[in-house]
């Protein structure tokens, strides 16, 4: 199959997935018990006539199909509804929170990939030795921990007992700084703990996948050829083994995106980090359904888009897939 055909097929697949998600997002929020209008108005003494007018206004007297059509039309004009809690358009609230989450996820992911890949290489190279076994058990144990619990422990150690880092948040509200550098230093202090915690949680899987992938590559015939040609150990590792062993890591990033988003919700909740995850938590506790619905759609489409990109990247990186 040629590149363009492949691209097109993948793109259409992603589009179908997005449409199914939109469909799900609409109907999931219709299964909730109770009348949405009563939730919205929160006044038990409202007259039947007024109720009917509001129902008419929101299009709730139309059929489900017409409602879905209205939902789609609003969606494509960027209208995700209005928050019960903030009384603001959902899209604005969501967009406001994006930078904080991207900063957190981006830094943690890059950090965990670098450290994870390095550790994975070391463990694979020293397979079966004590360092490999200790490292492997650590990765497994970290992998088995609930993310929010690791975050709680980190806060307890570093912010409550030792008080090296702040408890949470993204900065002191209303604080003035004497210079840009002081502000940056303060920002970094707030960022440090959530980022390190996040990276710690993500590292385990990268270590495991890099280790097993490298072990597999080292068994390949071309590695034997390289050794026979007299390539040094270092060159064998960095020139021949690493580039090939890195491929599953790229796939893992894509597969992991859902897991990363889940981690962000938990870490932002524990650290009061003002991003999308924290917004989701507060929408859940306040039963702010429009925000919840918009946020779910936004996150899911972002993940589908990122998956699509990772797919393309993988194809670009691995010449074997192209033919």
């Amino acid at each position: 199959m040629n590149m363009r055909g492949y691209l097109l097929r993948k793109f259409i697949q992603a589009l179908i997935t997005v449409f199914i998600v939109i469909f799900m997002n609409f109907f999931l929020f219709r299964i909730m018990p109770g009348d949405p209008i009563r939730v919205l108005i929160r006044n038990p003494r409202i007259s039947a006539g007024a109720l009917e007018r509001v129902r008419d206004q929101f299009g709730l007297n139309e059929s489900r199909l017409v409602q879905f059509w209205i939902y789609l039309r609003d969606l494509f004009s960027g209208d995700l509804g209005t928050s019960f809690n903030y009384r603001q358009p959902v899209l604005d609230i969501v967009m406001e929170r994006v930078p904080a989450t991207v900063l957190l996820i981006g830094t943690a992911t890059v950090l965990s990939i670098i450290i994870g890949v390095l550790l994975g290489v070391i463990f694979a190279w020293k397979r079966g030795t004590r360092i490999d076994i200790i490292g492997l058990s650590f990765s497994l144990i970290l992998y088995s921990m609930p993310t929010f619990w690791v975050a709680i422990i980190m806060v307890m150690i570093f912010a409550v007992y030792w008080q090296i880092f702040p408890l949470g948040g993204m900065g002191m509200p209303g604080a003035f700084y004497s210079s840009y550098w002081v502000e940056l230093a303060s920002q970094l202090r707030y960022m440090f703990l959530p980022t390190i915690t996040f990276a710690l949680i993500l590292i385990g899987e990268y270590v495991l996948i890099m280790r097993s992938s490298l072990l597999e590559v080292m068994r390949e015939d071309y590695m034997l050829t390289a050794r026979a040609k007299g390539v040094t150990n270092r060159n064998m590792l960095f020139r021949h083994a690493m580039p090939n062993a890195m491929l599953p890591v790229v796939t893992l990033i894509a597969i992991n995106l859902g897991f990363i988003v889940g981690g962000a919700i938990q870490i932002e909740t524990v650290f009061s980090w003002p991003g999308l995850g924290r917004l989701m938590y507060s929408a859940l506790t306040n039963r702010d359904y429009p925000v919840l619905q918009g946020l779910f759609l936004f996150i899911t489409i972002a993940v589908i888009g990122a998956n699509f990109c990772a797919d393309l990247l993988y194809r670009y990186l691995d010449p074997r897939v192209k033919s």
């Binding site: 609930p146 929010f148 619990w149 422990i153 897991f259 988003v261 919700i265």
Partner: protein, 299 residues
């Protein structure tokens, strides 16, 4: 081993296979450790609630809230003065129950979709796999949270939500195995003597994908237990039930972190980690036993 399981009447062979399975499994120290930990927690969940009772610690009629560990209250008390050790022991039952029930739902959905998809192929396969892909790509925690929030906090809903969102990986694995199993001669033979589709799927394909289901169940169970803890922590659990996740939820929302109340935050979490770890260990061990390719020959 695979074909032996298909011959349901041949118990002697089955027994011999189980014995040889055990003799390989026994050599795997990881698998043994996992099994022992799991057994301890299973006993705790079975008998714990009959042996202990959640009492309130009081000194001279004054309730001792968020009290550090003392004699009699080995893990201290929570914000209502209740015994945390008793809570952890009693909480094991519902925590494990939710995890196992959700795993069962997930495995049933995953197996049925996997086998049907692989067996029928063509349009059925295309549609089912598209749905599977959707479930694979949607971030699981937001989906579970949204569903749990809409259905309302109850034990049954938590089980349902975890089960319905975690089957996709299983379906993919079972499907690919089904694709290879259905080409084997005995399936053709069964068809030749007039077996129907359902019969073939149930008596010829299912037994042969069973080892895979078995190994996968353990890993799904680990995920299910983690999910229960996370959902409860984020406030989607049933507030009337004692689970490790609910204990952590109350501890966090009552400010145990700023109190530095480690005795309240550590024990439920450690229990979750141990159970999840035991499932992971058993999963790895099963993988090595059932997948001969992974068995190391160089050691």
């Amino acid at each position: 081993m695979n074909s032996a399981l298909a011959k349901r009447d041949n118990f002697a062979l089955l027994k011999k296979n189980m014995t040889s399975f055990w003799s390989i499994y026994r050599q795997n120290s990881m698998g043994l450790i996992g099994l022992v930990i799991l057994l301890v927690f299973a006993l705790m969940a079975l008998f714990g609630p009959y042996l202990v009772e959640i009492t309130v610690m009081a000194v001279d009629g004054v309730t001792q809230v968020i009290h550090p560990p003392t004699s009699g209250y080995w893990l201290g008390t929570d914000d209502l003065g209740k015994d945390i050790l008793a809570g952890v022991i009693i909480g094991s039952r519902v925590s494990l129950l939710v995890g196992l029930a959700a795993t069962a739902i997930s495995m049933i959905i995953g197996t049925v979709i996997g086998i049907v998809s692989g067996f029928y192929g063509r349009a059925v396969d295309a549609v089912l796999m598209r749905i599977t892909d959707v479930f694979l790509v949607i971030p699981w925690l937001p989906l579970m949270l949204v569903m749990a929030a809409l259905l309302g906090p109850s034990l049954g809903n938590i089980i349902f939500v975890i089960g319905i969102t975690s089957w996709a990986g299983t379906a993919r694995i079972i499907r690919s195995q089904t694709l290879s199993v259905k080409e084997r001669p005995y399936v053709e033979r069964a068809r030749a003597i007039g077996s129907g589709d359902t019969h073939i799927m149930f008596y010829h394909i299912l037994p042969n994908v069973f080892p895979l289901i078995f190994a996968n169940t353990v890993l799904v169970a680990a995920v299910a237990i983690l999910s229960e803890t996370t959902l409860s922590f984020l406030g989607m659990g049933d507030p009337t039930q004692v689970t490790w996740g609910m204990m952590l939820h109350f501890a966090f929302s009552m400010g145990a972190v700023s109190y530095g109340a480690w005795w309240w935050l550590l024990p439920p979490g450690i229990c979750v980690v141990l159970v999840v770890l035991s499932f992971t260990f058993i999963g790895y061990a099963l993988d090595e036993v059932l997948n001969p390719k992974l068995r190391r020959r160089d050691q």
